[in-house]
């Protein structure tokens, strides 16, 4: 279907199904039960899953395929957000103007940064992208205040031109009248499911960009990108220059980031410079690695995983902990609460850091590799040792 083989079609269908039924899947607990705090089926969080999923898919096209570790992708995220908010200010609240612009501008921006940064590789490339991102962040905070509104963040004011704004138009981001932050609630017994317009808009875009990512992964172009990662010298000797391929990958991932930033502003008409800070780039790196760099599904999983636990873990406070361990004797209860306390609530980043280190140390392939290992353990089919039929490394005579 759509030029995909059977396996990829089913992968795409799985993602589509997950995205479509997310309001159900993420709300497995009744609304008034004690477990309702583990529900993730509310619009704000679901939107974040999808948006960061898009961001991570794009980042993975660069990092997963070519191995170039960029620490500056947050800059494109910020640019995308600014573009969309500017279109709100100038034209009207319809997101159809802003999103294409966000993609185009972030593409140009990443073309510029990529053209310079990709002259160097390895750690130098990481530092160069980091330097560019910090530069954009600092500029957005200080000199570019007329464009970015500095510390306050860019938002729509009532005296903005908004030339196309009609009298009947909704006064919030919308797509031809479908308002993003409106939702319908469906009550089924004790369960409550929320269907949000903005979420489904993002989900449709996620499906499109996921499909594009599959096509890129399976194309000859994707093969070239893998060649860059595996052995650049050999690629050079074959008579191919890696530069155009890496630059294309950089621009594509920059466009994904710009789109994600634009969608952020489409859900909530605000754009701030802090979206460009390098810690934000670090976050997308965490997501991609945690899920599994170089895999199709991994980055989406990683994004969902981090955003879910960020939300859930940071909500757990001492009161919740006490209610969990209340079946234990008092001394034990207090001890356990004391042990768990540093890792939840405000300490969620500690858990994230530990988890991330554990993944890099023990599971360099991320959650996807973990899943593969589990599958191997439980399936009876003999292990295929070398699926790609690589020739074995012969030891050097001198060694």
């Amino acid at each position: 279907m759509l030029g995909l083989n059977k396996k990829d079609t089913s992968l795409l269908l799985i993602v589509a199904g997950l995205a479509l039924f997310a309001p159900f899947l993420l709300n497995p607990f009744p609304a008034d039960s004690g477990l309702a705090q583990f529900n993730a089926g509310y619009p704000d969080l679901m939107q974040r899953f999808v948006i960061f999923g898009i961001f991570a898919i794009g980042f993975n096209i660069l990092f997963g395929l070519t191995g170039y570790l960029s620490f500056g992708h947050a800059a494109f995220l910020g640019v995308g957000s600014y573009c969309v908010v500017w279109m709100y200010k100038l034209v009207d609240y319809n997101v159809i103007w802003g999103l294409p612009l966000a993609i185009v501008v972030s593409a140009l921006f990443s073309l510029l940064i990529g053209f310079v940064s990709l002259r160097r590789s390895g750690i130098y490339f990481s530092i160069l992208t980091l330097a560019f991102a910090q530069m954009s962040f600092n500029l957005a905070y200080s000199v570019l205040t007329p464009i970015t509104n500095g510390e306050t963040g860019l938002q729509v004011y009532s005296n903005d031109p908004q030339v196309l704004l009609g009298a009947t138009e909704p006064n919030a981001p919308h797509l031809f009248g479908i308002v993003m932050n409106q939702s319908k609630t469906l009550s089924m017994g004790a369960w409550e499911f929320t269907f949000n317009n903005g979420y489904y808009f993002c989900a449709v875009i996620l499906m499109v960009v996921f499909y594009l990512a599959i096509r890129i992964f399976r194309s000859p172009f994707g093969m070239m990108l893998r060649a860059v990662k595996t052995n650049q010298t050999r690629m050079n000797y074959t008579g191919l220059s890696p530069r155009p391929y890496t630059l294309a990958a950089f621009v594509i991932s920059g466009m994904y980031a710009g789109l994600a930033g634009g969608l952020m502003a489409a859900m909530d008409p605000l754009a701030g410079a802090e979206r460009m800070q390098w810690t934000a780039s670090g976050e997308v790196v965490l997501m991609t690695i945690l899920g599994g760099a170089g895999t199709l599904l991994g980055p989406v999983l990683g994004a969902g995983f981090i955003k879910y636990f960020e939300n859930i873990f940071s909500k757990i406070n001492d009161g919740v902990l006490h209610s969990w361990f209340s079946f234990l004797p008092d001394g034990m209860e207090n001890l356990l609460v004391g042990i768990v306390h540093p890792f939840v609530g405000k300490g969620w980043h500690l858990t994230l850091g530990l988890l991330f280190m554990a993944v890099v140390i023990f599971l360099p392939g991320g959650l996807m590799e973990g899943g593969e290992r589990l599958k191997k353990r439980f399936s009876k089919t003999p292990e295929v040792k070398d699926p790609e039929h690589r020739p074995e490394d012969k030891p050097h005579v001198a060694e």
């Binding site: 160097r120 750690i123 850091g353 530990l354 140390i361």
Partner: protein, 343 residues
């Protein structure tokens, strides 16, 4: 003239901090070939060593002074630090006052130990992994260290003052024959610069004039051959990691009076010190020091009002611009050696 002198001086203290952190970073590059994103966290741990020492020295007991009352009419409770009780107010008070310099003595063993633990416990297993993995795992470690410190010390900056004797400002202009009040400069920043120069000198002397340093330099040039000569180069490199950690830690200890430490100060300095290392040339010690001071001074010149009125915003981006230009024109940095981190 005096403005130029003042800006140069202003650049020196930031430059000293950059140079010290970058020195440790580049030492680790040069010896172990590891990209250590947790180096900023070491700087921060050093700063919090100073905070801890000053808190320990300030531990006090309460006594009731019956002759005075507080504003509610109750007998006034007076806090006396134990040190003053033990050694008398004069010597004890001096000890408390000098807590930041005293913290150096405590910070050295702690930082060396932290460095050993990091190298043996974690980084050792990453020598054979790609640089991206090294960056990622040390980035994770930096987050963890930062959060641990935040858990114990809270998120707010903790003021840690310099000793009273070194608190004020010195009129440097008079010394070189300028008008009085033309060049006024905080004393502690001068101390910081002197301290940084001392540490840099000590590290260079250690590498240049001791047998241990000679072996380490040989190992940096050709690790395999040194190993074949029957020298346990790994152990020496571990010790160098400890020294690098101590250098970063001491930079942090002495920096506390300039900027109150908080848990993310390490991350703030990390990005800049990486830029410094890259500008100086990966693995080049003189390069790191030179680039540190150079960028510090450039930054302070760029924040002059005269410069800012011509090129608005230049102070925010000057360091990154210089880094980009240098990386593109001199890919190995100012003083980089051939073959370091080039793949």
């Amino acid at each position: 003239m005096d403005a130029i002198l003042l800006q140069t001086l202003n650049g020196l203290d930031k430059g000293s901090a950059y140079a010290l952190i970058a020195l440790g970073l580049t030492l680790i590059f040069g010896t172990l070939g590891v990209v250590n994103f947790a180096h900023g966290a070491l700087f921060m741990i050093g700063a919090f060593c100073a905070v801890t020492v000053s808190r320990i020295l300030n531990l006090s007991y309460e006594t009731v002074d019956p002759t005075k009352t507080d504003f509610l009419g109750n007998p006034l409770k007076v806090k006396t630090p134990y040190l003053e009780g033990w050694f008398g107010p004069e010597f004890g008070g001096a000890l408390i006052d000098w807590s930041v310099p005293l913290a150096i003595i405590f910070a050295i063993p702690i930082m060396v130990f932290v460095g050993f633990a990091m190298e043996r416990g974690l980084i050792k297993h990453f020598y054979k992994r790609p640089h991206a993995d090294q960056i990622l795992v040390t980035f994770g470690l930096a987050i963890v260290l930062q959060e641990v410190v935040k858990y114990f010390y809270g998120a707010n900056p903790i003021p840690t003052p310099a000793p009273d004797a070194l608190k004020g400002s010195a009129d440097l202009g008079v010394l070189i024959g300028l008008d009085p009040n033309a060049v006024i400069y905080p004393v502690w920043r001068l101390v910081y610069f002197g301290f940084a120069a001392l540490i840099v000198g000590a590290v260079f002397a250690f590498l240049q004039f001791t047998t241990f340093g000679m072996v380490v330099r040989a190992g940096m040039a050709d690790r395999e051959t040194v190993g074949l000569l029957g020298i346990n180069i790994d152990r020496r490199f571990t010790i160098m990691f400890g020294i690098a950690a101590a250098v970063a830690g001491l930079a942090g200890v002495m920096y506390t009076p300039i900027n109150s430490p908080n848990y993310h100060m390490g991350m703030d300095f990390l990005v800049l010190s990486f830029v410094v290392v890259v500008v100086g040339g990966m693995g080049s010690l003189p390069g790191a020091v030179l680039a540190g001071f150079l960028l510090g001074i450039l930054e302070s010149f760029a924040s002059m009002n005269e410069v800012k009125s011509i090129l608005p915003g230049i102070d925010q981006i000057i360091i990154y611009m210089v880094a980009i230009i240098i990386l593109l024109t001199r890919p190995r940095g100012l003083m980089g050696r051939k073959g370091v981190m080039e793949d």
